[in-house]
Amino acid sequence: MSWIPTIALFLVAWLAAFAQTQFRPVVGWLETPVAVLPALMVYAALTHPLPAVACLAVFAGLSLDALSAGPLGISVLPLFAIGFVLHLRQHLILREQAYAQAWLGAAAGVAMPLGTWVLLELGSHTFITGPFLIVQFVILGLLNGAVCPGVFRTFDAIRNVFDYQPLAETSFRPDREIVRGRR
């Protein structure tokens, strides 16, 4: 397997973490960050081995925490939990279907901030919380649900360009070969 699609995944995660600090669109009266790391984690979980999923969770989580005011490492476990659960069930998931990708992205978009909130509460950290978070979770779910199919299309295209192509089946069958002459 070529390493380029994996490197591209980490590069996009790096850019996505930085993009969260730059673009702050106002949705109605809420300010929700453009957080697409959960969608990337969904793709990694369904297409990469578990060690790569773990490395992506650690890299993306630490990048996000280093740019924020939160404790270092608070985002790693929620991201890895998403990737771990999906990786265990990847053989059951219709990963080629766009609607499955969208639903998984939406679920991951809600699960990640929810998991982070649980860890912050368990660690007794001071942070801003309130009923508005529910609406922000919904917005993040919709955002990641919309982005996830695009992530799959993009990285599948990168994989098709840089990865080895599967060998096409031929019509040759060794049991049907005509053997001429004496055996």
Partner: protein, 268 residues
């Protein structure tokens, strides 16, 4: 069914998370600085891109609009010069009166300009990152403000960048006083969504029936972080809480925290 490799990976990530969450503050700060350094090229590209966009927009301006803008700025500058002269006279008189009653003179503010290069990427805190670090004279707890009012204080300082805890963040409590009534209060952490109108909640230290909408709020100087007299905002409305023991007032901040670009840091 989990395989042995799954357990190893799961255990490794959980162990790493526990180690990171329990790191000593100094080690965590150094690790955070190291990871942030990976993003320095992107900060540079972002700044260059913003400069390019600004220069491109300038080239689209007409000569007439530039001339009218220069004229407007010239008049504003003249007005500000007169106001500054009056302020210097008042400050000198204040120093003389303070000396007469043996009070310590007020140290003038030394302001250093800084650009906001990043915002908080999550919703759990309210912070911003400045391109003003310890190499430029930044120190923790230095106040940050704009011409419109207080913004926050420096929370973490790195060699080339600093992180600002904005008003409304759990780590930025501000001791304030209502100018008209001299009622003291504290601006608390926000418990609601970041309000586009820039509203925060102030709780007074006692029941304050005289505080009403339209009153101005400035820093009181208590606590030693924010010097006295920095404008904070204006009272929007008030209500009694805790059975009338305290008054809560919603304050519209003077500074627009959602559109910060250039700020001033009060440096010694």
């Amino acid at each position: 069914m989990l395989k042995r490799a799954h357990y190893w990976v799961l255990g490794a990530v959980v162990a790493l998370t526990l180690v990171l969450l329990n790191l000593p503050p100094l080690a965590a700060g150094r690790l955070r600085t190291g990871i942030r350094s990976l993003f320095l090229p992107l900060f540079g590209v972002s700044g260059a891109g913003q400069s390019f966009v600004d220069r491109a927009s300038f080239s689209a301006l007409t000569r007439a609009s530039l001339i009218s803008e220069i004229e407007r700025l010239r008049l504003t500058n003249q007005w500000l010069q007169v106001a500054a002269d009056q302020g210097r006279d008042a400050l000198a008189e204040n120093d003389r009166l303070r000396a007469l009653i043996s009070w310590q003179p007020r140290a003038p503010w030394k302001l250093r300009a800084a650009n906001v290069i990043a915002r908080e990427p999550t919703t759990w805190w309210r912070t911003a990152t400045l391109d003003f670090g310890s190499r430029d004279g930044a120190r923790p707890n230095q106040p940050v403000l704009t011409s419109a009012g207080l913004v926050g204080r420096l929370r973490e300082v790195e060699p080339t960048q600093s992180q600002v805890a904005l008003i409304g963040d759990p780590e930025c409590g501000v001791s304030v006083v209502v100018v008209e009534t001299r009622d003291p209060g504290v601006i608390q952490e926000s418990r609601s969504a970041p309000d586009p109108d820039g509203l925060v909640v102030m709780r007074t230290l006692q029941h304050s029936p005289a505080t009403m909408a339209g009153h101005h709020v400035v820093t009181s100087g208590l606590g030693g972080v924010f010097p006295a007299g920095i404008p904070v905002g204006q009272v929007v409305d008030t209500r009694s809480v805790d059975g009338g023991l305290f008054t809560e007032a919603r304050i519209r901040l003077g500074a627009n925290l959602n559109q910060l670009e250039e700020v001033w840091v009060v440096a010694p």
